[in-house]
Amino acid sequence: MKRSDIKVLVITGDGINCEEETALAFREHGVVARIIHIYDLIHTPSLLEEAHIFAMPGGFSFGDEIGSGQILALKLKYSLGSELKKFIDSGKLIIGICNGFQALVRLGLLPKPFTTREMTLTHNRQGHFINRWVDLSVPNSKCVWTKKIVNQTIALPIRHGEGKIVFAGDLKTQAITYEILINNQQIALTYVDDVNGSYQRIAGVCDPSGRIFGLMPHPEAAISEWLNPSGAKKSDAVGIGASFFESGIEYCENNF
């Protein structure tokens, strides 16, 4: 389908706060991105049917109280659960960034939708919020959102307090879960260094289909080299973060 016909829904409300830049990151690639308040989406679920991409941006939904993403996940589960399932079953794309990733995980959509939860994101090893740029590897994976940058080392900002990936069960069970993700090619992004204590330095995972993707770093905050933290690198060039959005959009172009 044509790029200009691709519809992106960017959810907002209840403390989500990266909706504007996330929508901008999509719009820069010529698609229609609409910012929609969660209340309006719940009351007009047909919007989900019409959309091709559902984006859950970063932020502090419900102030991160009880657990980051926890209450947003509950809200989505009880008010849009069946619509989201339909959306996923019809082969459409979801991206969750930072708090959006946390909510996808709490919602049980990652790493494998509609199964018992076996993964969570919890407090960083350091015990506090961190904002810094980190180096990331992009392994070969099923993920449709990283296709354009596979096997590259890239830099993106992280801005989170709860980004440490932990698997359920004892050490052996955890290793098995990790092994399965590796074998399924679901590990889509890893930190080069151990920045927050995340299991095997995982920074982003996708579901077995590769269409649902969650990551802690913020690609939408790196869509222009003006945002690069290095003075020498600031320029009009497109930033590496744009590649994630471009990848997702290309998938839509080719498959819808």
Partner: protein, 1031 residues
């Protein structure tokens, strides 16, 4: 009979022994500050749920809501097997733990509980169930030496709890297995009874009037009390308590700025050498003449078209973009932060965000700044000085204010792009917490200017956002008083970022839809202030107080009127859009209540349940107060003795082979409080949310990392609806250390530092505005303030300097604020009365336009072989190394101090800007604390490159040259190919070509062909980051 459940959240067995950084850092804290050895500590969160009737299966619902099934389990008061927790304790190696249980006092904002209640209501079967939720935290704790419950309680209040906000309950080891906490569960509830509005009899003697004034925390002067008394005599009636509260609030120093509008007679004598005489004169209002006066003059002279709205609204608005307008406001929240550092700073940042939300028709916050002036505990410990009774450990204040700003900014999705930490021992009495916010608004919406307020008679008064509680009552008057024992606990409160985020999002949406005519925030003084101010424009309002939403019943009418409960905005909504306004508020989870109507009666008329409780003539309220008449005399020798009597031991200047060891001094300077890195704290602020922060707090190269300091924040306007090739620079200047020498110079330095920092990143000095924030010690004479005349004279001098430099630079002030009672009066450990006044402090914030992104320049050097220039004076004739004098015993700053040639300076900035526009400058960095050599090292250490400079100077000149501080100086690097073009533009202002950049990662200084300093960038960075640790 209600039922209360308790749910405690524990890690599951797989995660029982997962490492917990927080718990380790608590152990370290208790050991460091209280010398208590904690063997084991375990933090566990819990929730209480109160319902009218038992709820079937509540345990399952609570488990889904409160726990993360992957890593957590829940223990509930419904459980049979409570003992299992004892097994977990054993597994965590507790032998006989005590339990510290910390809950909120009734009525204190409990954000976790609010969120938890909302979450429970998401479960379909609970949607309609009446419930209340409270949250708490418990700590299982085991110390090396057993502590009794009183000791444990004391320990908890030192770090884990604040007795103004929390209740602490201790369970000793022998009682732990009784599980009393699960069996008798007390839900914290407010039970207060409203008192009716009553008449206040002012027909009493003056001493009785004064007693009444003090008992009620009105903080009015005796003249003001008599003015009120006379006024009500003329009305032939007594005021009501509501009227007295509204008047006291409106006339508080915090709201009325009486000192800044007073008539001051200034004189000076015994001026030290070089201190600028400003003559003897009487100024009728510092604000009117020196601040607004300067701005109006500049506006007229320069015919500036971009000053859209200045001084009369919640923030100044300027047009630095083709599509959006930009606004800026900086506030202080000192007194609340002294009492509760976390809540004080949190409500400080949320409060200034609301100023932006409440400017014109409402703007959207896009960036925060914060500056903290603090003391450090180790200074008192190292020098064996006891911190006066009642004062908090300054390190705890630092931790608290930092966390408050972190939560306030991060949870609101507003990047903290600029700020500073300033340390001085005299901030131990009152910390200064400056919070600033920049906002954007479309220039017009539906053809009407967004910058204008348009409330009309007949509009409804709508309060939206948070509810009213007892919190914050007398906040405005309290901050106008010194910090003394016995303040009512209602003056502190915790902010609720999520409620405010929803309110802010709602406000911007409602503005777009044109659903209201005007809006303002509820800050100090609550409804009294917001409705009172808005009513000035329509000339009247009628309020029905019982319609305001409350947190709990039992509030008296005066409390409803002056409560400062947070997260509230007051809207002026036309009757024909009220339905749509309220409908949208429901959709956006924002509570709103219609509480009255604006009119043109000339009166603020307030009713409660149909009875009039106040009817105040707006003219009397806002216009009748006569300015105070004050006298200030500048003579630095008249300063009262310092509260610390003892001499502070310091080392001598380090020497090597009989010569001054410049390398050592440089590394020592890097570790001093005002120079060293606070990266570990700053990186806990989100400085990049909204994806528009071009220049971030730290800079450098990927190889070395980004840890070198930037000069200012730069925000891209494109993500905010502005120009794709347009940006804003935000910078600050503050130097209280200069105040003891001369506040005129201090103010000049502060303005120049802010401007200089903005110029360094590429801002156009001809498109730049300033914001002033004064934090002064009390300048009003009384028996406990003998040197008030000096402090007032210092205020006049600083303000005169602002005027002079603002005019010379052609840079207008667009907003500002003053906080005038930053003193602590208390007892030292010998029960002697002491007074600690902050050094006169002025924060200047500069906001400048960077009209093209290609002009943006950062501080780190970019290439090897570039030329390094000093722009500005070489200061060889001065002895002004302020940081050296802080550090070493045998160095003293001497008058005369270097003053600025302001006319020449602004020309210099214009030329730098021109050179940057022509791409002639590769890097630029301002010279400030620590002098030239520090700035050189900072430019180098974020890269793998180095700098080599050659001089011809003797030892005295070298010390002056390398370490002297002043204003107006910048280091830049220039490509050799651009040498000519650069020199052409800046030859009048460049004092010297210092040397060049190298590829060897070291700073190398030669003088008279001898090596006098050699240090690697890595060593500089190591010293600079001495307190940073792992990020």
């Amino acid at each position: 009979m209600s039922i209360v459940y308790r749910f405690e959240i524990y890690p599951n067995t797989d995660n029982l022994n997962a490492s917990a950084t927080q718990e380790e850092s608590l152990k370290t804290w208790f050991h460091k500050y209280l010398n208590r050895s904690i063997k084991n500590i375990w933090e566990v969160r819990y929730f209480l749920v109160e319902t009218e009737k038992p709820i079937a299966n509540i345990r399952d619902y609570a488990q889904e809501v409160f726990t993360d099934s992957v890593v957590e389990v829940m223990l509930s008061s419904e459980d049979e097997n409570l003992e299992q927790v004892l097994g977990w304790l054993q597994k965590k190696n507790f032998q006989s733990p005590s339990l510290i249980d910390i809950s909120y006092r009734p009525g204190v904002t409990d954000n976790s509980a609010h969120a938890a209640l909302e979450a429970l209501k998401l479960i379909p079967v609970l949607r309609k169930v009446e419930m209340k939720v409270a949250s708490g935290t418990m700590y299982f704790i085991e110390t090396d030496l057993p502590l009794n419950s009183i000791q444990l309680e004391g320990l908890a209040y030192e770090k884990l709890a604040n007795n103004l906000l929390h209740k602490v309950l201790i369970t000793i080891p022998s009682e732990l297995a009784n599980f009393a906490r699960m069996k008798t569960i007390v839900f914290p509830s407010v039970s207060i009874v409203a008192s009716k509005a009553k008449l206040v009899n002012l027909e009493v003697s003056n001493p009785e009037l004064e007693k009444m004034n003090q008992d009620n925390c009105w903080a009015l002067s005796s003249d003001e009390m008599i003015h009120i008394k006379n006024y009500y005599q003329s009305l032939k009636r007594s005021p009501t308590d509501v009227e007295m509260e509204v008047i006291a609030q409106s006339w508080s120093e915090h709201c009325k700025h009486k000192i800044f509008s007073s008539e001051i007679t200034y004189s000076e004598s015994n001026l030290p050498k070089g201190v600028k005489p400003i003559g003897e004169f009487t100024v009728k209002g510092i604000f009117k003449n020196f601040i607004r006066g300067a701005t109006l003059k500049i506006q007229e002279e320069r015919k500036i078209p971009w000053l859209i709205s200045i001084f009369h609204d919640n923030a100044g608005i300027v047009r630095f973009d083709d599509t959006v307008d930009v606004c800026i406001k900086v506030e202080t929240h000192n007194s609340p932060s002294a009492l509760d550092p976390y809540g004080g700073a949190l409500t400080g940042i949320l409060g200034v965000n609301r100023d932006i939300l409440g400017v014109g028709q409402g703007a959207k916050p896009i960036a925060n700044t914060n500056v903290f002036c603090l003391a450090e505990n180790h200074y008192f410990e190292d020098n064996k000085i006891s911190i006066p009774l009642l004062l908090k450990n300054p390190d705890r204040i630092k931790e608290g204010v930092h966390l408050g700003v972190q939560d306030g900014g991060n949870k609101s999705g507003i990047p903290t792009v600029n700020g500073a930490f300033v340390f001085d021992r005299d901030f131990v009495g009152k910390p200064l917490v400056f919070c600033g916010t920049i906002g954007v608004m479309p220039q017009a919406e539906r053809g009407l200017a967004t910058s204008e307020k348009r409330q009309r008679p007949g509009d409804l008064i709508v309060m939206a956002g948070g509810r009213i509680g007892k919190d914050g009552i007398h906040g405005a008057t309290f901050s106008s008083m010194e910090l003394v024992d016995g303040v009512p606990s209602s003056v502190v409160q915790i902010g609720d970022p999520i409620t405010q985020k929803r309110l802010g999002d709602f406000l911007v949406e409602a503005r777009r839809l044109g659903l209201f005519n005007s809006v303002t925030d509820n800050g100090a003084g609550g409804l009294s202030s917001s409705v009172g101010e808005m009513a000035q424009l329509t000339n009247g309002a009628n309020v029905e107080l019982e319609k305001a939403l409350v947190k709990y019943p039992g509030l008296s009418p005066f409390e409803l009127m002056v409560s400062e409960s947070q997260e509230r905005m007051t809207f002026s909504v036309p009757k024909d859009t009220i339905a749509a306004f309220l409908e949208l508020s429901i959709k956006r989870s924002v509570e709103a209540s219609v509480i009255g109507e604006f009119n043109n009666s000339g009166f603020l008329n307030i009713n409660y349940e149909g009875v009039e409780v106040a009817n105040i003539d707006l003219h009397f309220l806002h216009e009748s107060l006569m300015p105070m008449k004050l006298t200030g005399h500048f003579d630095v020798s008249k300063k009262s003795p310092h509260w610390i009597k003892q001499k502070i031991a310091k080392p001598s200047l380090p020497k090597l082979d009989g010569k001054i060891n410049y390398t050592q001094i440089l590394l020592d300077l890097f570790k001093t409080p005002n120079i060293r890195s606070h990266e570990h704290l700053i990186r806990r602020y989100d400085h990049e949310v909204k994806a528009s922060t071009i220049v971030k707090p730290f800079t450098g190269t990927p190889e070395v990392g980004f840890s070198a300091p930037s000069d200012a924040g730069v925000i891209w306007m494109k993500p905010h609806g502005g120009g794709a090739d347009n940006a804003l620079a935000i910078a600050s200047g503050i130097c209280p250390k200069v105040s003891k020498y001369d506040t005129y110079l201090m103010a000049e330095y502060a303005v120049d530092e802010a401007v200089r920092n903005a110029v360094c990143v590429g801002a156009n000095p001809d498109e730049m505005v300033l914001v002033d924030n004064y934090c002064w010690p009390d300048p009003i004479t009384s028996d406990r303030n003998p040197d008030a005349e000096l402090k007032l004279a210092q205020l006049v001098r600083a303000s005169k300097a602002l005027y002079d430099i603002s005019i010379a630079y052609g840079m207008p002030f667009v907003s500002g604020k003053d906080s005038m009672k930053n003193d602590f009066i208390g007892m030292n450990e010998h029960q002697e009365k002491i007074k600690i006044s902050v050094p006169p402090t002025l924060l200047v914030t500069a906001m400048g336009r960077v009209p093209s992104l290609s002009i943006v320049t950062t501080s780190e050097i970019k290439n090897t072989g570039d030329l390094v220039y000093l722009i500005g004076e070489n200061l060889l004739e001065f002895t002004s190394a302020f940081e050296l004098s802080e550090l070493y015993e045998d160095y003293e700053v001497q008058y005369p101090l270097p003053a600025l040639d302001t006319k020449k300076q602004i020309e210099c900035y214009r030329q730098i800007y021109k050179a940057m526009k022509n791409n002639l400058i590769e890097s630029s960095h301002d010279i400030s604390d620590g002098g030239l050599i520090l700035a050189l090292a900072e430019k180098m250490m974020g890269t793998t490159m180095g700098i080599r400079i050659s001089l011809d100077m003797d030892e005295k000149s070298l010390t002056n040259f390398l370490f002297n501080e002043s204003a107006g100086r910048i280091l830049v690097t220039v490509k050799p190919a651009n040498e000519k073009a650069f020199e052409e533009i800046l030859k009048r202002f460049t004092s010297m070509l210092l040397g060049e950049t190298t590829n060897n990662g070291s700073l190398f200084v030669k003088s008279n062909k001898l090596e006098i300093l050699k240090v690697s960038g890595q060593d500089c960075m190591k010293s600079y980051k001495c307190q940073v640790g792992e990020i």
